[in-house]
Symmetry: C2
């Protein structure tokens, strides 16, 4: 019998408690022994919860209980969560978290402690919610040099963009509706400004390329500037506008990580990932391309990933799995503005003016142009055109 | 340093040799130490191969060399391959294979030997080729009760069906073309009759439900009876005909495993998996639904999965991963003909006749009907209609 504790009894934490209970038998098979939930740490009491008897308010009880070897961090943020995770690892406990902010900002540091203490620090739920993608990327595709990971990693923005396309609606209207439905937060900035996607790109970058990429190293644009006119231009080219997080290695070995709206062609699998779903595409030199699709958020899907982490840690109590990365290599980064890509622009300029400045271009809809070949955003913005929109095409 | 041997230097075997060499650094990071290819067993010589110096003809050399701890079986079939894999496991070596026939017919037996010898027997490449799907299903989704796995698991038939739809062509013509392109074998029976998909369903069943499902326990129909008229009826309902392999647990706890053409609606992700690609959809009580998409065959993608298995085995040399299942439980199976499903039929009968026999039905195209609610194939076939086609709708 192994004992687990959950830090934070919010949506994810209560989901983890539910999954540990509901699927105890399945977990025991893969963990090698049953996992018993011993404590749930929260500042609040939950007298009506079936887990009321497990609620405690003092972190030190967990920290000092040698029986607790597995901890699920579901507090969120990178202040208290960082402190508690660090102390759990230092106390020789294995930790699983769904907290992308924590991993994106302190992942290297925490993995170093985990390594020194010979314990696991897992975070499968931090990218793609319930979708198994980080372990497949890091372990199952071990026989690949990864060249790129690109994906729809934020369900809220994908829901908004899907609605804008389906209903020809304006961003503000769809956002209000999404907030009413519970698909968007009251303060939607982290989603719509791309920060949530940025954190996930940090984690995907580190796993793919071996060094920490901090949020400030990821060029990030959200979806707030996307208008109905942009959506119409995309449709005119049989494309959809999607917010993609991407990290890739250039031919000269630099890493370029960015979050940006993209025009996604109908021939690409990401085109078909609509609504709140996430989809991640991985390219490697042996696999070619694989895609992972599923629920990127939600109580039980996220809990599925966290509890799966606990089972994996339980099997690897004494021989941790070799997941680590180095600290940031800032000189290895390429600014996304300097990455040559296919681009679509919208402009008040004529086709002749566009072609004089940027070479051959195919008109799309009312005022859109698909530029032939590859251009950098920097060069496009320097071309002196009256630009209404500049976003890459995903290929 | 760890030493590996490859059994069989055909397409997959030579791919494994290539990947082990090309991505040695990546593999070493995840394996914990470098993996050196020591022997390649084949009956032939390959004097022009860069691996010519590793070719041997006597299996006993590998079997008796204690330095060789990792073996990739790439011979195929279940006779010599079974003998060699068994002897490798008995000699305490870890084995990875891409051989679905071997796993579908002898998997339980080999896993028992692996367990007794405390070594790993891995077969990620046997389903979905390069796509990481078996480990995600078995380990990463450990916190789920799996209710169903369904997928396009044979690229050859998916290529043929895609062509039939895109070009309105007949099965025989597309098959000839696929043979000329190398996408179909000269003897295409294993693919087009569904046997290859059947073997993959056996493996998915065992991993999902915990007991061996042998090929004779899987109701199997291939694509040879699909006509242009069927494809047209599917299109009339905004659906595509796809060959799906499925295994699911019914509410009363029985397992139903089958391979059949399915009508797949446009709202389903499997609808968008075309050409030679594979896609597998997994449903569980915590994750909801996730999909894995990618190259289901091919030299380097398949080798990616086999080499990834070797890296995982290398990290788990002394503590094997807990992958096992029991022998068949034949009394737990439900015949697919008795599974209630939504169905489309094609018939010379009128709508009135169809509805008199089977209840409400929506006409589709020239002679198709989408039956409302769920029916069993057995009941439909007993209804005395002049049936031209009877296939389920995937939902």
């Amino acid at each position: 019998m192994l004992y687990a504790a959950i830090l934070g009894f919010g949506t994810v934490g209560s989901g983890v408690a539910e999954v540990l209970t509901m699927n105890q038998k399945q977990l025991a098979g893969k963990a090698g022994q049953p996992i018993e939930l011993k404590y749930i740490l929260d500042t609040r009491d939950f007298p009506d919860s079936p887990f009321a008897d497990r609620i405690i308010h003092d972190f030190a009880i967990i920290e000092q209980d040698p029986q607790v070897q597995l901890v699920a961090e579901c507090i969120g943020g990178a202040t208290i969560a960082f402190e508690f995770v660090k102390r759990c690892l230092q106390a020789g406990k294995h930790v699983a978290t769904s907290n992308k902010e924590l991993v994106a900002t302190r992942g290297h540091e925490l993995l170093e402690i985990a390594k020194a203490k010979n314990v696991n620090f897992f975070f499968e739920a931090s990218v793609g919610g319930g979708i198994p993608v980080l372990r497949p990327l890091y372990f199952d595709l071990a026989a690949n040099e990864i060249s790129q990971v690109a994906g729809i990693v934020n369900g809220t923005t994908n829901y908004i963009l899907t609605k804008m396309l389906d209903e020809g609606a304006a961003f503000d209207d769809v956002l209000r509706e999404a907030q009413a439905m519970g698909y968007a937060e009251a303060n939607p900035a982290a989603d719509v400004e791309g920060l949530d996607a940025c954190r996930k790109v940090c984690i995907l970058s580190a796993l793919s390329f071996g060094f920490h990429v901090y949020p400030d190293m990821v060029s990030t644009e959200g979806i707030t500037r996307i208008t109905e006119a942009d959506v119409a231009v995309a449709a005119a080219g049989n494309m959809k506008l999607k917010l993609l997080g991407r990290t890739l290695r250039t031919e000269d070995g630099r890493v370029c990580a960015f979050v940006s709206p993209h025009f996604v062609p109908g021939s690409c699998q990401l085109f078909h990932a609509d609504g709140v779903f996430n989809a991640l595409l991985v390219r490697g030199n042996a696999i070619g391309e694989a895609m992972f699709y599923g629920p990127g958020a939600g109580k039980l899907p996220t809990a599925s990933a966290v509890a799966g982490d606990l089972a994996d840690a339980a099997w690897h109590l004494t021989q941790r799995r070799p997941m680590n990365w180095e600290d940031a290599r800032r000189d290895c980064m390429l600014d996304a503005a300097d990455l040559p890509l296919p681009y679509v622009i919208r402009t008040g300029a004529s086709q002749a003016q566009v072609e004089a400045a940027l070479g051959a271009a195919r008109p799309l809809g009312e005022d859109g142009y698909l530029l032939e070949g590859a251009h950098t955003r920097r060069a496009i913005e320097a071309a002196g055109l009256n630009l209404l929109a500049v976003w890459p095409v995903f290929r």
